[in-house]
C-alpha cells in the first residue's frame, strides 16, 4: 500500500517524541524506552511500577488527545493474518528484552546519548527489518 511522504508532520511528531524523552529524563531520571518501561511492569520491583503504568496510560491516551485537539485519527491498516501477528509479537517482545531496547530506547534515547551499544543495536534491527520486508514483500510476495 502506498503512503504519502509527510516530512512536516513526521518531523513535528518526532520532535514531540524527543521532548517526551527529555521530560522523562529531566523529571524522573529515566530513559523513555517503551520495551524497557513495559518490561519493568512485567517484572515489578517495589516502588518502580506506578510511573511506568502512568507513562503507558499516557501513551495509550495520546492518540485520543490528538483526536480531540486536532480532530481525526491517522489510518491504521493491518492486514496480517492472526498467526503472523502472534509470531511477530512474540519475537518483538522476546527480542527487545534480550537486546535491552527497541526503536525508542536504542533508536531515539541511545543514539541521543551517543551509546555505541545503541548504535550497534539500531543498525542491526534496521538492517534486519529491511531484509525481512524485502523477503516478505518481494521474494515470498505476501
Amino acid at each position: 500500500m502506498i503512503t504519502q511522504f509527510t516530512p512536516i508532520s513526521a518531523l513535528a511528531g518526532g520532535i514531540m517524541i524527543g521532548l517526551s524523552a527529555v521530560l522523562l529524563l529531566l523529571t524522573s531520571g529515566r530513559i523513555a524506552g517503551i520495551s524497557g518501561i513495559l518490561g519493568g511492569v512485567l517484572a515489578p520491583r517495589h516502588g518502580d511500577v506506578s510511573w511506568r503504568i502512568l507513562f503507558i496510560a499516557g501513551l495509550l491516551t495520546g492518540p485520543l488527545l490528538y483526536a480531540l485537539m486536532v480532530g481525526g485519527l491517522p489510518d491504521v491498516t493491518i492486514d496480517d493474518s492472526l498467526p503472523l501477528l502472534v509470531v511477530a509479537g512474540l519475537v518483538v517482545g522476546f527480542g527487545t528484552r534480550l537486546g535491552s531496547g527497541c526503536t525508542s530506547g536504542h533508536g531515539v534515547c541511545g543514539l541521543a546519548r551517543f551509546s555505541p551499544r545503541s548504535l550497534a543495536a539500531t543498525g542491526i534491527f534496521f538492517a534486519v527489518a529491511v531484509v525481512t520486508v524485502f523477503v516478505s514483500r518481494h521474494v515470498v510476495g505476501v
Binding site: Q4, L23, L25, A57, V76, I78, G95, R137
Partner: protein, 149 residues
C-alpha cells in the same frame, strides 16, 4: 507525586507525537523499510527529529546533579556489544519487519485499531514474559543481566 504526573505527561506527549507522525500506521513503517517498493522516507524525519531533540535536551538536563523529582539519573551502564544485544536486535528486526509494529506504536495504536493490535500486544507481552522466565532460570544467553531501557 511530581514524577508520576510528569510520567503521564511524557507518555501523552509520546503517544501524541507518534499519532501526528502517523507512526501508529504500520504501513508507514513498512514503506520506510521497503526501498525496493513503495518507499516513504517519513520515518527518517521522525527518528531524526526525535533524536536531535533528545540529544540537545539530554545534554541540558545532564547539567543538573539530579532529576527534578528523583534522587538520581538512572542510565544504562552496559558497554559491551555482546551476544544478547546482537541476538535481541536481530529478533526484533525480524518481528518489526514482518508486521511493521514496534512496542511504542503498538501500544499507542491500541486506541485506534484495537482488534489486530491487541493480538500483537498480547503476544509481545508473552514474549517479554518468556524472556523473563528464561532469564530468571539462567537459560543460555537470556540469562545475561537484563539492563532495562
Amino acid at each position: 507525586m511530581g514524577n508520576k504526573i510528569m510520567s503521564l505527561v511524557a507518555g501523552l506527549l509520546f503517544g501524541f507525537g507518534l499519532t501526528l507522525a502517523q507512526m501508529v500506521n504500520p504501513q508507514k513503517v513498512l514503506n520506510f523499510l521497503d526501498f525496493a517498493g513503495t518507499w516513504d522516507p517519513s520515518l527518517a524525519f521522525v527518528l531524526g527529529g526525535a533524536t536531535i531533540t533528545a540529544a540537545i535536551g539530554f545534554r541540558l538536563a545532564g547539567r543538573r546533579a539530579a532529576p527534578l523529582f528523583a534522587d538520581r539519573f538512572q542510565l544504562p551502564t552496559a558497554k559491551d556489544i555482546d551476544t544478547p544485544l546482537v541476538g535481541g536486535a536481530v529478533l526484533f528486526g525480524i518481528g518489526w519487519g514482518l508486521v511493521g509494529l514496534c512496542p511504542g506504536p503498538a501500544i499507542a495504536s491500541l486506541a485506534i485499531a484495537p482488534g489486530s493490535v491487541a493480538v500483537f500486544v498480547l503476544a509481545l507481552i508473552a514474549g517479554m514474559l518468556l524472556h523473563r522466565l528464561l532469564a530468571t532460570r539462567g537459560v543460555g544467553s537470556a540469562g545475561a543481566k537484563a539492563t532495562s531501557r
